[in-house]
């Protein structure tokens, strides 16, 4: 285990050393087993060891971010490759924190790819974007026809637990999902602390938390859409739509916990439908 160093919210004039970190993983099928065939890292990004809590066919991994969070100037990159027939489930041990910046951008670039017959469940916990953070998150998912993907992301603007709002700073978040080079989903978020969209009815209407869950694979049909729609959201607003080749659930609300609980219920319906595997909530989600 890496002993996490405490990383505090530094005043803007403090020159904190920036992290340069990279993690590159590849999963492949060997007989009935999913094995980790590449695990390269540079800097403080790590994969906690490969785990097989539900048998050897599915490899679970926990991606550890740099100690405590990401600050201005940090540059992180994550690459994940899932080969034909392999099945990987990746999550994170806690919320990703994006600290108030000293002026520089923090940047996380993620490239995920899934081959035909491969399955990737990409289930990181939420990102918390502190006031005055300059957060750039860029995720590209490249699928081959016949690949399965269940991916979620959730973002909280400001530490609302302590009453902080996102009054200044930048969030630039892009998610692009392609299948054989064709874009299936493109979400490009450019938000500033003073953005009218934070309060506009067509924007966030004052709610600090938003997220989406995307499912792609064989088995998406109207019956599954109806079953997903029957799951209630306890706090906030949650909706589901079906587009060609994907199903998208979207949450907007005041609390990450409510969004995460709803996504978790949706995942428990989607996982068996798309992968034929029963869903057991990863233990890390309960901690």
């Amino acid at each position: 285990m890496n002993a996490p160093l405490p990383r505090i919210d530094l005043p803007p004039d403090t020159a904190a050393p920036a992290w340069q970190a990279r993690l590159s993983l590849a999963f492949a099928q060997r007989d009935a087993r999913t094995v980790l065939t590449r695990r390269e890292h540079l800097g403080p990004l790590r994969l906690q060891k490969a785990l097989y809590p539900e048998g050897e066919a599915i490899c679970h991994g926990i991606v550890l971010h740099p100690p405590a969070g990401i600050a201005g100037g940090d540059q992180l990159s994550i690459e994940v490759e899932v080969g034909t027939g392999a099945h990987a489930l990746l999550t994170t041990p806690g919320a990703g924190k994006w600290y108030r910046s000293n002026g520089a951008d923090g940047r996380l670039t993620q490239h995920l790819s899934v081959a035909a017959g491969g399955v990737l469940e990409w289930l990181p916990q939420e990102n918390i974007v502190f006031d005055r953070a300059q957060a750039h998150m860029d995720t590209t998912v490249r699928l081959s026809t016949g690949a399965t993907l269940i991916a979620m992301d959730m973002t909280a603007l400001g530490r609302h637990g302590s009453g902080e709002r996102f009054d200044a700073g930048t969030l630039a978040q892009t998610l692009r999902v392609e299948c054989d080079g064709r874009p299936l989903w493109l979400e490009q978020i450019r938000l500033h602390g003073s953005d009218p969209l934070l309060h506009a009815a067509c924007g966030l209407a004052g709610r600090p938390v938003f997220g989406s869950l995307i499912a792609i694979g064989n088995g998406l049909d109207d019956a599954l859409l109806a079953a997903c729609r029957a799951l209630p959201v306890t706090h906030g607003d949650g909706v589901i739509t079906r587009l060609p080749e994907l199903l998208v659930a979207r949450y907007v609300g005041a609390r990450c916990e409510a969004g995460r609980a709803w996504f978790s219920q949706l995942w428990q319906l989607l996982r068996p439908a798309l992968t034929g595997r029963a869903a057991q909530t990863p233990r890390i989600w309960n901690t």
Partner: protein
């Protein structure tokens, strides 16, 4: 007035038979949910969308489309078209632009003023599943309408359609509709200029309130509009 401007008026008119009047883009749900109840809240909803989803994504993308149609870079046209389709975050919003694009392509194919221009018909026919802005900018390119005139007209046509939807669903009177068009129309020149120069890395299609409204509209019990 030049012929190009006459063509632009035709392209931006609510009589363009592409079915725009059947779509509210979530406004019908916003009225149902009590978010839009009067002239002021209609101004906030429509104006909010015009400043965000339109000015920061659809209009800059339409500006790029027009530029690459003009430059003859049809591979880039096709990429922008698929990006636009992938950026539609709810089933009805995607269906809307696909249907309107399809109808506009068919209309243009039947118009001698477009069809008889060399090349353009074949170039447009080569685009798989053309979205509405893709077909619209093909016509603007064929008719040599300058971007600085095309973009304000594109925003205006969208605004006019949204205000007509508001008149029906809120409901609002005709005078209120005209006040909305005049007030929100004030912003169009500046938004169109920004759209012409906004770099692609700054485009933003983040309008979660619209995404929620559009998805809720899919299961709305009683409705007049298709989005």
């Amino acid at each position: 007035m030049s012929l190009a401007r006459i063509r632009l008026l035709q392209l931006s008119s609510p009589t363009l038979p592409v079915g725009a009047y059947t779509y509210s883009q979530g406004l019908e749900w916003a009225a149902e949910a009590g978010t839009v109840t009067d002239e002021a809240s209609a101004n906030a909803w429509i104006g909010g969308l015009m400043h965000s989803a339109m000015a920061r994504f659809e209009a800059p993308l339409a500006a790029r489309l027009l530029a690459v149609w003009n430059a003859g870079d049809d591979a880039r046209v096709a990429q922008l078209n698929t990006d636009f389709l992938a950026s539609r975050e709810a089933a009805e919003l995607r269906a809307e632009t696909v249907q309107m694009g399809y109808s506009l392509v068919r209309l243009l194919r039947d118009l001698p003023a477009f069809r008889d221009l060399p090349g353009m018909n074949d170039r447009l026919a080569a685009i798989d599943t053309p979205a509405f802005p893709t077909a619209w900018t093909a016509a603007a390119s064929a008719w040599q309408i300058p971007a600085r005139e095309a973009l304000p007209a594109y925003l205006w046509a969208w605004l006019e359609n949204q205000v007509m939807a508001a008149i029906k669903v809120v409901p609002l009177g005709q005078s209120a509709g005209q006040r909305l068009l005049a007030a929100l129309g004030d912003d169009i020149p500046a938004l169109a200029s920004t759209a012409l120069t906004l770099p692609e890395a700054e485009w933003s299609n983040f309008t979660p309130g619209l995404a929620l409204a559009s998805c809720h509209h899919e299961t709305q019990y009683s409705r007049l509009f298709r989005s």
